[in-house]
Amino acid sequence: MENFEEFEELLRQRSYAELTENEKQWVTQFISSEAEYESLRQADRQLNHYVTATRKLTPSPKIWAAIKNDIAQNKKAAKVYWLNTSIPAYATLVLLMVVGIFSWYGGSNYNSTTVYEPKIVTHIDTVFIASKPDTIVRERIVYLKTYPTPAIIQASTKRLENMPATKGINMKEKEELERLLVSGSR
């Protein structure tokens, strides 16, 4: 059967009478007689004739439109895929347990009274820290050389009394005197 395709090609192209002696010898690996060869050749031709009928088949344009539409729908569906993702049973169970625990905890505290203490919020922007000083520093001038203190001289002079021979003149008298002396007359 190795050369089956070559045998088919021969069937299509040439009748048994047209085969060379070598080819006739060669085809005996597939057929046992000339009649069988011709029968196969005839069937081959009939089948080819038969299939030509479907060559006229053409797909409706609606098919491609439907394909495009469905592809677009699938793309939209893919966007919300995570919403429709199936969850394993154990994950669902764990989720239910978590929800159950939270519900129970919330329910148990439902009737309890909650006392809210007013919270005083003070705003402190400066902090003074007062502390008692443990060291006092005093400054004092210390002279290395000592000078003797100057002795206090007490003046004990007497105030002189107005002499009786002296008598002062006033400015008017002085002016008249000067005029006399310069002019020689009064």
């Binding site: 059967m1 190795e2 089956f4 395709e5 597939f30 029968s39 196969l40 005839q42 069937a43 081959d44 031709r45 009939q46 089948l47 080819n48 004739h49 038969y50 299939v51 009928a53 479907t54 060559r55 088949l57 053409t58 797909p59 409706s60 098919i63 491609w64 439907a66 394909i67 495009k68 469905d70 592809i71 699938n74």
Partner: protein, 186 residues
């Protein structure tokens, strides 16, 4: 965009470029529609639904595309798996009902078809009778002109096995369609 390879386009699709996906759709929508049409009981509306679903799957699985792999075979392998699932559903639905396949032998089927139906119906009946695997091989090889290597990758089966299965399928079809030689002469 048109000058880029399928693999380069797929890289762009992975980067979120919708124009690249549109280019891939332009390239493969028709052969894929033919593939689904042949695989799914020649029901055009079902084939169009599957074409639509396939491109949605491609967008969903784009990160799974290995950059070293051929894009077309990766895409057809997804399409192949979709058809296999549909066959399973169909088998489940019709398990209690009288169905066309599963009863009687090929000769009876052919005789019945010879009397009442056309070549196409005979071929369809035979492919149904031979099963999902035979239909897949037939469609990939004759309808889509895939190489044996590509088919091997799409259906995840060794090349040697694909060749031998294709050969025996061809022999069965030739035997069953022998009476319809007149179809071509018309």
């Amino acid at each position: 965009m048109t000058g880029l390879s399928d693999e380069d386009l797929m890289d762009k699709v992975c980067g979120g470029d919708e124009r690249a996906l549109e280019e891939i759709y332009q390239r493969y929508s028709q052969p894929l529609l033919r593939y689904f049409y042949r695989m799914l009981w020649q029901d055009q509306s079902k084939a169009e639904d599957f074409l639509h679903d396939l491109f949605i799957k491609i967008m969903e699985k784009k990160v799974q595309f290995e950059s070293g792999r051929k894009y077309s075979t990766w895409m057809y392998s997804i399409a192949h798996n979709m058809c296999k699932n549909e066959y399973r559903k169909k088998a489940f639905r019709s398990s209690t009902q009288h169905s066309f396949n599963g009863n009687g032998n090929i000769d009876e089927l052919i005789t019945l078809q010879l009397d009442h139906t056309s070549f196409h119906q005979t071929l369809e009946g035979l492919l149904t009778k031979e099963g999902e695997e035979a239909r897949t091989l037939f469609v990939l090889r004759h309808e889509l002109d895939m190489s044996v290597a590509e088919i091997s990758e799409v259906i995840n089966c060794p090349e040697g096995t694909v060749k031998s299965r294709l050969f025996y399928l061809k022999k069965k079809l030739a035997l069953a369609l022998e009476h319809y030689k007149v179809v071509l002469e018309k």
